[in-house]
Subunit: 347 residues, 2 copies
């Protein structure tokens, strides 16, 4: 199926449908936690005053709703799934920002830097459990299956995060390990988002699996593009300093691929980014000159091209998964459009 235009409409439509359900979910939180959560999602400022916010793109809730529609059901069946996945996504962002000591996200101070580490941990914990409450109350029969799928995806995402932390201290991360980590950290939750509406709609397993595979590969494509932006992205658009992943010595896909290439450039890259044997953990950030040199070396070793090819290949696999079963035509087209649109906008 050839992707068409029109994606912003489906995102806006989904936001209008998910917004009230998300607000109702956050209203269940204790006031202390709700203040932190509404700040994090951009609905209020640090004091709790409502603000006009463009909000996130809302890709995950949109996928959840479209997955119900693609499985020939009413999009409303996907709403609790969209809310639940968005809650888990936000829980992971709040905790990741503490772990990575990031002080800014989307040009706003992160939750822990505004409210402190304790309230940020508690808010993340609360959003994780709220997601399961929303699903388990949504439908007596199907809520449990959706909750189990979300729990599995969340567990995979958390395992990916643990690997990511462990990789920072290791010299010997292989391309395969890096891909597996990315798949777990990003792909699992997107795979859940893009199939949870179908689960809530009681769709056949083959449909759920096809939609999940679409989301998992979309996640891998996202991650590849994100890794490219982490080195070559425009700071004005990414909201991060140029080459920030290299500065932090992050073993992202382009870097790992370049390190695996071998040869003089690859060796020089290794000594720059990984440092000498035994230096792990004691290395500071790269200087701007080192970042520039490292970016050149990653590209010279083929790491940039390899990652771009991976992004495209995963996008193709994602689109191919949608062809495995008979989906409703309009949401099928919209799922394809979203994949192409988001990747092109990001890249």
């Amino acid at each position: 199926m050839t992707p068409t235009i029109g994606v912003p409409e489906v995102l806006a439509r989904s936001r209008a449908a998910i917004g009230p359900a998300m607000a109702a979910a956050l209203d269940r939180l204790n006031p202390e936690i709700r203040r932190v959560a509404t700040y994090h999602v951009g609905w209020t400022d640090a004091d709790g005053t409502p603000v006009e916010s463009p909000g996130g793109k809302g890709i995950r809730p949109t996928l959840a709703m479209l997955s119900a529609e693609a499985a020939w059901a009413d999009s409303a069946l996907g709403i609790p799934g969209g809310v639940a996945v968005e809650l888990v996504h936000n829980f992971s962002l709040i905790h990741d920002d503490i772990i990575d000591r990031d002080t800014e996200r989307h040009h706003r101070p992160t939750v822990w830097s505004v409210y402190g580490v304790g309230p940020a941990i508690v808010a993340g914990d609360a959003l994780q459990v709220l997601a399961h409450q929303v699903l388990l109350e949504s439908s007596p029969e199907r809520g449990a299956a959706a909750s189990a799928a979300l729990a599995d995806a969340t567990a995979a995402m958390i395992a990916g995060q643990a690997e990511d932390i462990a990789f920072e201290k290791r010299r010997d991360v292989t391309v395969e390990q890096c891909m597996a980590m990315s798949s777990a950290k990003t792909g699992a939750l997107l795979g859940c988002a893009s199939s949870i509406g179908a689960i809530l709609a009681g769709a056949p397993e083959a449909t759920v699996w096809a939609l999940r595979d679409y989301g998992r590969h979309l996640g891998l494509a996202f991650q590849a593009v994100d890794d490219l932006l982490g080195i070559w992205g425009d700071p004005a658009r990414t909201g991060k300093p140029a080459g920030s992943d290299l500065r932090q010595r992050k073993k992202s896909m382009p870097v790992v691929a370049a390190l695996a290439a071998g040869g003089a450039d690859s060796d020089e890259l290794r000594s720059l980014v990984v440092g000498p044997v035994g230096a792990n953990g004691s290395l500071g950030p790269l200087t701007p000159d080192e970042v520039e040199r490292a970016a050149y070396l990653v590209e010279a070793c083929g790491g940039r091209a390899w990652t771009a090819v991976r992004a495209k290949a995963n996008l193709d696999t994602a689109l191919g998964a949608l062809e495995r079963v008979r989906l409703s035509a309009v949401p099928h087209r919209e799922l394809a459009d979203i994949a192409v649109f988001v990747l092109e906008r990001e890249a």
Copy 2:
């Protein structure tokens, strides 16, 4: 029903039944996370080497198994519930230790102080979601109800923790607010532990509610005793310095009750523990002399006696709840024994 002796046997029996199920659950974790989790529960040292450990008392899993038996079912039906509640309990301990900056628990360094804040956050997150995986996979029909009950209890526990953090910065915590916070923070999860086996056994609602009320009031009684120990406990037994709650200006039940008493002693206590108006957040710990004086004032204002009365009243309410429905006699007696045994051992 008059409590009898014999509680250590039931705890040992439960440990033998829960241990392998707990090990199987932890084996599902990513190796990085499993290392942290097995250290936390005392099965391994910081490097992952197995150690002989007495382990915790295992009250929660015991309650879960007994709640299945009390509802006239096989105790095995309660095992996934016992594992799940224990996982949530441990998730909360790992995160609470980060939040409270506690470096020791049960005479061992806390998880964050051994592995760092990031791995501790991730390990706690992983245990929370693992609990739901265990339940949702345990039984197609009843796993969802058990998971929903655990999610509600976890949400209440997290809300209690958020209140606890907020209370530290407030001057005006009432006795009622303090009780509500304690009830949420401790009572909700114990209420879930003491009824989840009955839920998994498909027991009637009245039975589930009676068992849950027993656990909630047992939790309040525990909390009251814990607050007494936090001021007057023997450091050799509590593993905390004498008067540690006062040192940290914690608004525990005895303190809040004493502050509410009014009069000269109460005013002096307020200026010691709460400090002058506007001083919140900038106050350091009390000196040993101030701790001693504050403990005297709490007692003089009746805070110690009031809290002891609350502990006893909640124990009586817990035991009374068990009389509301017809429970199987042996587990009924064991539930009553556990309540009395644990409170007396702690007090």
